[in-house]
């Protein structure tokens, strides 16, 4: 067992876990944050995506020990003071979420995308979300949600 400490959604956390335990399982089982989903478990679907030090990563491919000292943001940390983040609000209003399994990963991938490209082209949106699979929407409503979120410029000044 290893003691692993990180900053999770703004709060310092410390867990005692097997060092090779997947960060995904640490989040879901040890910390009871079940917003992060498991899809393929192989890094191909993006359902388990979180932000690590501000960068999008697949938590199913990260051994717990490598989270030591990092700053993590999961879907639970995206909203503030009980209010949905504008990206979440856009997914809600535009039908970007259906069954919901891919949605946390899609939101975090959008977060990183808009950090890098505040006004993304369709090509940039498609590449930014290229590692996230959705089996419900056919993607068009997700792309529209991202465009809407970009139009609201939610990350301005952050």
């Amino acid at each position: 067992m290893s003691k692993v400490q990180f900053l999770l959604n703004g709060q310092q956390q410390s867990v005692e876990v097997p060092p090779m335990k997947r960060l995904l399982d640490v989040l879901r089982e040890d910390l009871r944050l079940t917003g992060t989903k498991e899809g393929c478990g192989e890094g191909e679907c993006g359902a388990c995506a979180v932000l690590m030090n501000g960068e999008l990563v697949n938590s199913c491919l990260i051994p717990a020990l490598q989270a030591e000292g990092t700053r993590l943001c999961t879907i639970e940390g995206v909203s503030t003071d009980g209010h949905l983040h504008p990206i979440q609000q856009c997914f809600l209003e535009r039908g970007g979420a259906q069954c919901g399994i891919c949605t946390p990963g899609m939101i975090l991938a959008t977060h990183q995308l808009l950090d890098k490209y505040p006004n993304p082209t369709m090509e940039q949106i498609q590449e930014g979300l290229g590692g996230n699979l959705c089996r419900c929407t056919g993607y068009m409503r997700i792309f529209e949600s991202v465009q809407e979120a970009a139009a609201l410029n939610p990350l301005a000044g952050k």
Binding site: S2, P18, M20, R22, G43, N58, L65, A109, N132
Partner: protein, 291 residues
């Protein structure tokens, strides 16, 4: 079946020297892990053989990208995102910027490293063909020092390389010598993001008038390892791209490539498809040179 994670040990040595000492003390005991985009997949499906792993992901001294004496030197811990963000790579080594951009999707590129892609040594790996055509050298580090090899000599067979059990990749070094070369790369897979190549071909060439003065070709999934296509290069060096000889040049290139292609049938494709498409990619590159 998923592995039981409690059967695995992982530690993060405080320093690179400490890690190299551990590797030297018991060669073969430990498997180094960087971004985890390969080994954690193996863990997930119960195929991770080694029970003892050492993380090297935190060694910032292996994560660098700098210009040095007309070369670019890239540390093993450099991620694909780092490569894509480098203006130096974009300007001088566009094929590497391209191969990095299709090594998995963004979340994989934020974690996966160039060193990891090299030592995993998959015949389908995205970046080795580019390193081969760019004439890279590779520097390996161990407790007993560093050694540098021509990257052409690094891959020995299916997932076999020159890397000893007590060594890590330190860096790769690529000459910034390809201004004026025509450059080509194409990957054929089932999906843009994340697909593993069925076949990929990278090439650079210098023409003098309508003659091919120099050509280098590198391929993924054409044999049991990433290769330079030396037979095709030989057949094409000095060949004419003039309208009345182009067809003969294309045929000579295709025939030579067919001779050295030894692809396999697997879940992603068939040997026949791979050979045929590799020849088509070569033809596409050659036709672009003739334009």
């Amino acid at each position: 079946m998923r592995s039981d994670v409690t059967e695995y040990e992982l530690s993060a040595p405080a320093t690179l020297q400490e890690m190299l000492s551990l590797l030297a003390a018991e060669p073969g005991k430990y498997t180094p892990i960087a971004g985890g985009t390969e080994l954690m997949v193996a863990l997930g499906v119960g195929r991770l053989q080694s029970r003892s792993l050492l993380s090297l992901q935190h060694f910032q001294e292996l994560r660098f990208l700098r210009e040095e004496d007309g070369h670019v030197v890239i540390g093993a811990n450099t991620t694909f995102t780092d490569l894509r963000r480098s203006a130096l790579i974009a300007e001088h080594l566009p094929l590497l910027a391209q191969s990095a951009s299709w090594t998995g999707a963004i979340a994989n590129q934020n974690r996966g490293t160039l060193g990891g892609n090299i030592v995993n040594a998959s015949p389908a790996a995205d970046n080795p063909p580019v390193l081969l055509v760019y004439g890279a050298s590779i520097t390996l580090i161990s407790a007993s020092g560093m050694r540098t090899l021509d990257y052409n000599d690094f891959h020995l067979g299916y997932k076999k390389t020159q890397l000893r059990a007590d060594e890590l990749v330190h860096s790769v070094r690529i000459p910034l010598a390809y201004q004026g070369y025509r450059q080509y790369i194409r990957k054929v897979g089932t999906r843009n993001a994340l697909a593993i190549s069925k076949i990929a071909l990278a090439g650079i060439a210098r023409t003098e008038g309508t003659r091919i003065a120099e050509i280098r070709l590198g391929a993924a999934s054409l044999t049991d390892r990433p290769i330079r296509c030396l037979a095709a290069e030989k057949a094409l060096t000095g060949a004419s791209l003039a309208a009345d000889s182009l067809e003969a040049t294309l045929q000579a290139g295709r025939a030579a490539l067919a001779m050295e292609a030894k692809p396999i049938d697997d879940i992603r494709s068939t040997a026949r498809y791979r050979s045929a498409v590799a020849e088509n990619l070569l033809e596409e590159f050659l036709r672009s040179l003739a334009e």
